[in-house]
């Protein structure tokens, strides 16, 4: 081991520790409010990948930074050592990058997908049909209740602690159904019904946190940026009352 190698090794340890401290010990990498079980899966995956990325990034930055400071010369004098490669180092590099890649594919990749799928399987407590049109949503609840989001005070009301299944489609161009608080998103495609589930946890309201909104996330032309509507997650009793009241008005 020459001195440069030892120095970089310690630099790497320090940078890794520093990076992990920022992630674990500060709120720089905090996440927006979560309103669905599925959102926890997403945030856990995000957190895990960030923590895993730190030593990798720290390694490249250590070598880059150390070389930048230690190996600089003021002009073209002599050549560097004619090292074409170190076979064992290259093989080691290939092994750890491959290993890490396969690991990330399995977790949080495949495990996360299966977990989200598992949460979405089974009988939903509520099915909401959501239809995108330029530039509003038509939200169809059971009992013939319909909310069109261009109406005054329109909002998407959902019951808490419930498995809600959204059946999404479009009447014209591509849109996308996205509730940032749920971390769930799926495109609204004309001629196709796509589905997505959210298992709501905790009461939430757009007025308190803008992550509680239904937002179009696929460019749909002129008023794309205004194609959003507040989401309000309420207690089951309150939701039933709201639905019953709406059903009366509808009838």
């Amino acid at each position: 081991m020459n001195r440069d190698t030892v120095n970089v090794f310690f630099l790497w340890l320090v940078l890794t520790a520093l990076g992990e401290f920022v992630i674990l010990g500060t709120d720089l990498f905090s996440y927006p409010i979560v309103g669905a079980e599925e959102g926890h899966v997403v945030d856990d995956a995000f957190f895990f990948l960030t923590a895993l990325a730190v030593p990798v990034a720290a390694f490249v930055l250590s070598m880059l930074g150390y070389a930048f400071i230690r190996f600089r010369v003021s002009g073209p004098d002599e050549d560097g050592p004619p090292v074409k490669m170190h076979r064992s180092w290259a093989i080691f590099w290939l092994l750890w990058t491959t290993g890490l890649t396969l690991f990330v594919i399995v977790h949080p990749g495949i495990t996360g997908i299966l977990e989200i799928r598992h949460l979405g399987s089974g009988e939903p407590d509520l099915v909401v049909e959501t239809e995108g049109s330029r530039w509003y949503w038509t939200i169809n609840y059971p009992d013939g209740v319909t909310v069109k989001t261009f109406e005054e005070d329109a909002e998407m009301v959902l019951p808490v602690d419930s498995h809600v299944k959204f059946e999404v489609t479009s009447t014209d161009v591509l849109h996308a159904f996205w509730v940032p608080a749920f971390r769930m998103k799926v495109d609204a495609v004309p001629g196709l019904v796509t589905t997505i589930s959210a298992t709501t946890i905790g009461l939430g309201n757009y007025r308190d946190d803008p992550q509680y909104r239904l937002q179009c996330a696929e460019l749909c032309g002129l008023l794309h940026n205004g194609m959003d509507v507040p989401v309000r997650v309420v207690s089951v009793a309150e939701f039933d009352a709201w639905l019953a009241e709406k059903a009366v008005t509808a009838a």
């Binding site: 930048f68 003021s74 050549d79 074409k84 696929e218 794309h224």
Partner: protein
């Protein structure tokens, strides 16, 4: 007259294009008049086809090429004068320079559009752009930057550099080469005309049904994109043939400079994948203009189909952009660290792996598109596998600089920054390849930040490295090193400060392609806008340095970097035939530090200010 004469071919081309437009649109109105369909868009489309043909004939295809189709003697339009930059010259160095200047101008224009977007995004709410104008400016910024990213290296540096680096006197098909450049100005004109035709609001992705609706600006955009694709296909074909057949005697595949390898790999994608997006765009146009309904679900079409066709090209296309950037990166690192390209053969193998894998990852753009769920895992697997060959590029970059002798010139600084920026771009790519995180991040500013880190931080920084590196060879003069380094630090710091916060705005719920956003993101966006203007200003220094040095800069030696590759063994700028006699390649290009090693034997070339090209025997 003397003012007009340099531009007489351009003027002739514009006249021919007008005639072509009139013929094409008359033809269209005759056809549609017979069937009673609305005629405006068919007239525009066929009129444009006529105009394109007229433009090309007028700029010089007639003189250089078409005359021989009817038995006349063709004429060359090459000349030792700046006039040849404004006509159908077949000299690869002229064409390379045309590409470079054109796309630096497009880069600056599209960058200016980005500044306009940032002003609108400084605060929530609609400030000064209407929704339609915001969408048009955003879409124009996108497609223009895509063009810059696709064509600057392949069209510019590869054209200028590849024949020189492999010891050839030109490319394999010089006339096709000139054609692929002269197709570009009509593309630029079409895009600049779109605001007059109502603009277009589809983004550069042109997803139907949106792109089959709306004003005729969308049609102009589709025509421009299709034409640009044609140029890209021809360019790919040309470089493959050039690299396969025109290497100097002795330049075996294992002695080829790494930049040439990277262009070879990018050209493979360019030739094959571009045809898919061309077909897709043609189908959208047929949907629009004659109502065929390929993507209209009311008539048995499928909107999702286009996304698959589009990304089957457009994901490999990002490797058309980044592979040659890797080539410039390793090239510059090797010469300025004065060490061989580390793990050269592994790098070549990795580039080919990237080409292959790039064709089977496209559906990671479609995780949330509503495609069947069972496709998520296979495409996540292929996508994440691509980080293994990409990791080998990092292995090589770090291996080159490790214990080297780093001469920190402007090109070297930009190359080192590519490693830094692409590290962030690559790592954040994992978050988008991973299905659970992508469901949230898809179509947010996290994606915007990610691709600006890979394409701008990776490729545009590599382009900057290339511009400074080859500037003395292209212009025959040295740029101002102090201004160059100042430009680097200015751009590097402000670039990172602009794009790094966008990862946060994305996670915190800011979606892409919007003029307005929720109030909680106001502070961060204001900061981004402020710093983005600092970054924009850095380009003024760059342009000043480039322009003033080309006029007043000190005359460059043949080999100011004491580099070993062949382009530095001829005068700056090189004579028309590149080398007075064909070089003989006798060794590796990167054997820095190997006693008595020689890359090539080059006989003294004429026209150089300092006589015989030194450096062929460097490294002793």
């Amino acid at each position: 007259m003397s003012f007009i004469s340099p531009f007489r071919f351009v003027i002739r081309a514009l006249v021919f294009a007008t005639i072509g437009f009139i013929i094409g649109s008359l033809l269209a109105s005759l056809i549609t008049g017979a069937t009673g369909e609305p005629a405006e868009e068919p007239m525009l489309a066929l009129g444009y086809a006529g105009a394109l043909i007229g433009w090309l004939l007028g700029i010089g295809v007639w003189d250089v090429w078409a005359r021989e189709w009817i038995g006349l003697q063709p004429r060359s339009l090459n000349a030792q004068s700046w006039h040849q930059y404004f006509r159908f010259s077949t000299d690869h160095k002229v064409i390379g320079t045309q590409y470079l200047v054109t796309f630096v101008v497009v880069l600056l224009l599209a960058g200016f559009l980005a500044m306009v977007l940032r002003v609108e995004l400084a605060q929530p709410g609609i400030a000064f752009l209407s929704d339609q104008n915001y969408n048009t400016v955003m879409s124009l910024h996108g497609i223009m930057m895509i063009a810059v990213a696709v064509a600057t290296i392949i069209g510019g540096f590869a054209n200028f550099g590849v024949p020189l680096l492999i010891g050839a006197d030109d490319v394999a098909f010089p006339r096709i080469n000139a054609l692929s450049y002269w197709i570009i100005p009509p593309v630029a004109i079409l895009l600049l005309l779109t605001p007059l035709f109502g603009g277009f609001d589809t983004g550069w992705t042109a997803y139907p049904p949106l792109s089959t609706l709306g004003s005729s600006g969308t049609l102009l955009f589709l025509l421009a994109f299709l034409t640009f694709g044609l140029s890209s296909i021809l360019g790919g074909l040309n470089f493959l043939a050039t690299i396969v057949f025109l290497r100097a005697p002795g330049m075996g595949w294992s002695r080829m400079p790494i930049f040439v390898w990277s262009v070879f790999c990018a050209a493979l994608i360019s030739l094959t994948a571009t045809q898919f997006v061309a077909a897709g765009l043609l189908m959208v146009m047929l949907d629009r203009v004659v109502g065929m309904g390929f993507f209209d679900s009311n008539r048995g079409g499928d909107a999702l189909l286009f996304e698959h066709i589009f990304w089957f090209y457009s994901h490999p296309a990002v490797y058309i952009m980044i592979l040659p950037a890797f080539g410039i990166l390793l090239e510059v690192l090797s010469h300025f660290a004065r060490k061989p390209v580390y793990a050269y053969r592994w790098v070549v193998a990795s580039m080919f792996s990237i080409v292959l894998i790039s064709f089977i990852v496209w559906a990671h753009h479609l995780y949330t598109s509503g495609m069947p769920d069972f496709l998520h895992i296979p495409f996540m697997v292929t996508t994440e596998l691509i980080s293994i060959p990409t990791g080998v590029i990092f292995l090589s970059a770090l291996g080159i600089i490790w214990r080297g002798r780093l001469w920190l010139t402007t090109p070297m600084l930009f190359a080192l920054a590519v490693v830094f920026n692409f590290l962030i771009g690559g790592i954040t790519g994992i978050f988008l390849a991973d299905v659970p995180t992508d469901i949230h991040l898809q179509d947010t500013y996290f994606v915007v930040a990610h691709f600006h880190y890979t394409i701008m931080g990776g490729e545009i920084f590599a382009i900057m490295a290339g511009i400074y590196y080859w500037y003395p060879k292209i212009t025959g003069r040295m740029y101002n090193e102090r201004q160059g380094r100042l430009h680097f630090w200015w751009m590097f710091i402000s670039y990172n400060a602009t794009f790094l916060p966008m990862f946060w705005t994305g996670v915190w719920g800011m979606n892409r392609r919007v003029a307005d956003y929720t109030d909680n993101l106001a502070d961060l966006n204001l900061i981004i806008t402020g710093i983005s203007f600092v970054m924009g200003a850095s380009f003024l220094l760059f342009v000043y340095n480039m322009v003033s040095s080309s006029i007043r800069g000190p005359v460059a030696e043949a080999n100011p970097w004491r580099a070993r590759t062949l382009e530095w063994q001829t005068s700056s700028p090189p004579p028309e035939e590149n080398f007075t006699t064909p070089p003989q390649v006798v060794g590796d290009p990167y054997d820095y530090g190997v006693p008595d090693s020689v890359h090539a034997v080059v006989s003294p070339s004429g026209g150089s200010s300092d006589g015989p090209a030194e450096g062929a025997d460097r490294g002793a």
